[in-house]
Symmetry: C2
Subunit: 273 residues, 2 copies
């Protein structure tokens, strides 16, 4: 992105507000997903996106698309020239794809989304076969309509990747970092894990907040997010509300690993207290 | 939209495919929602949209927004210059808003969405008050952040309205028709009505298909959509699958009216058979 010196470059205020009360004890740093990992995870979890293209007069045009992605995260589209977006990319290949988190719990502005911007290109040879195959998994009917004369398979070659995770959680990354990153392998099980922890293991979350997150005076804690590296907590203290992060001993490699990883965290918290 | 003579103007093939078997008996025409009513309904039901704006180099940029709308359906946005979309519209006010149906059952490509394209303008005076009030209902926290110096309320003044209802159901309409149309007042209850009809009243749907939709040989029928004017059915006949529409005696004026309207339809179907 070209520097735009007329404006500051990021939302900082909400992050400051939401960090809340500072820990009372030193806390070991906990690994978080990189912006590239966040972006790859959203792309891997989703199937529907908003495509932005340029109309004949250069105005932006939004439309709904089903997308797939190649193994390196490159988005695959299948567009018809009978639809405006298909005609738009024939005239000007510049496009962006906005993909939102599927399982938005409450406040959609505090949910994840990613914008992938670049140019669509028509793949050929092996890349075309990969694109077709990936797209068929996302939209089985494409086995039929993808062969119609008005449909073309495209890859979106990325130039910019912008991730927003919610209030105060956002960053840009490079197409190279995006391509090299791995989607979080536990993402499919994260929403269930969060729900289960909050419903049945509030005591364990409180122990983690007190012993591992530097808030020994926390009075209650809930889990906001779970990922392969750890848990994001929201907790209450006499000094105000705080957010905190606690890390797994080892990154989880599959949704089924979340259980053992959180049990280990709870055990460690109770042993530390 | 400027005519684009290089391409046909609409997807016709899928509609032809899906209409299926023709009715065997003459069927009275049934009112359907206009494209303007469809668009107003989607806008009234939604709260989250994809905003397309133009980046500094003129490339399209998609982002997630919460929107509200004024009484005439004009979309209201509240954008920060700390976010790219907010900086984009300061440079170039052209924007489009894509809003998808909230309750997508199965195939998202067969679901409703609308693209509203135009230019954002800063309202003042009474319009600004209306915009603020409408936006606060959509995003209560805007009472706080909407007052920050980096946020601006915008109205999207429409130039083009494009509705897609699913395979073979799509049309453009004018901003004037959009502004004059009414959102479907039963929309909030439609998904429940469809589910209830399919689960508990398959016999009534079959009677409608046979007696009112011109398919006396139908062997089963399900409801695909319900709106203030009637029901869309999908039915099976020895001649193939067919879609059909049956109309209420009077347009329904509230979600609670759908029950009486469908009971009347079922009674009429049974009396006719």
């Amino acid at each position: 992105m070209a520097a735009d010196t007329a404006f500051p470059t990021d939302h900082l205020a909400p992050a400051d507000v939401l960090t809340g009360a500072e820990p009372l004890e030193p806390v070991a740093p906990v690994r978080t997903r990189s912006a590239a990992e966040e972006a790859r995870t959203l792309v891997a979890q989703g199937r529907v996106a908003a495509l932005s293209t340029l109309s004949e007069d250069g105005a932006p045009w939004g439309s709904l698309v089903v997308y797939a992605s190649l193994a390196d995260g490159t988005p695959v589209l299948c567009l018809s020239t009978l639809a405006e977006h298909g005609r738009n990319v024939v005239r000007d290949p510049r496009a962006s794809l906005m993909i939102g988190q599927a399982d938005v719990a409450r406040d959609v502005l505090d949910s994840g989304r990613v914008t992938l911007a670049g140019r669509v290109v028509e793949p050929s040879g092996e890349r075309l076969e990969q694109a077709r195959e990936a797209y068929r998994a996302a939209s089985p009917a494409s086995g039929l309509y993808g062969g119609f004369g008005d449909f073309t398979y495209y890859l979106l070659e990325l130039e910019r990747v912008r991730w927003v995770g919610g209030y105060g959680r956002m960053d840009s990354t490079t197409p190279a970092a995006y391509g090299a990153a791995e989607p979080d392998p536990v993402a499919a099980g994260a929403a269930y894990a969060v729900k289960h922890l909050n419903e049945d293991h509030a005591d364990a979350l409180l122990a983690m907040a007190r012993a591992l997150a530097g808030h020994p005076d926390a009075s209650d804690a809930s889990c906001v997010r779970a990922d392969r590296y750890g848990l994001d907590l929201k907790l209450r203290t006499p000094r105000g509300v705080a957010t905190a992060r606690v890390g797994f001993a080892e990154p989880a490699a599959a949704p089924g690993d979340l259980r053992a990883a959180t049990v280990e965290l709870a055990r460690r918290a109770r042993a530390t207290r």
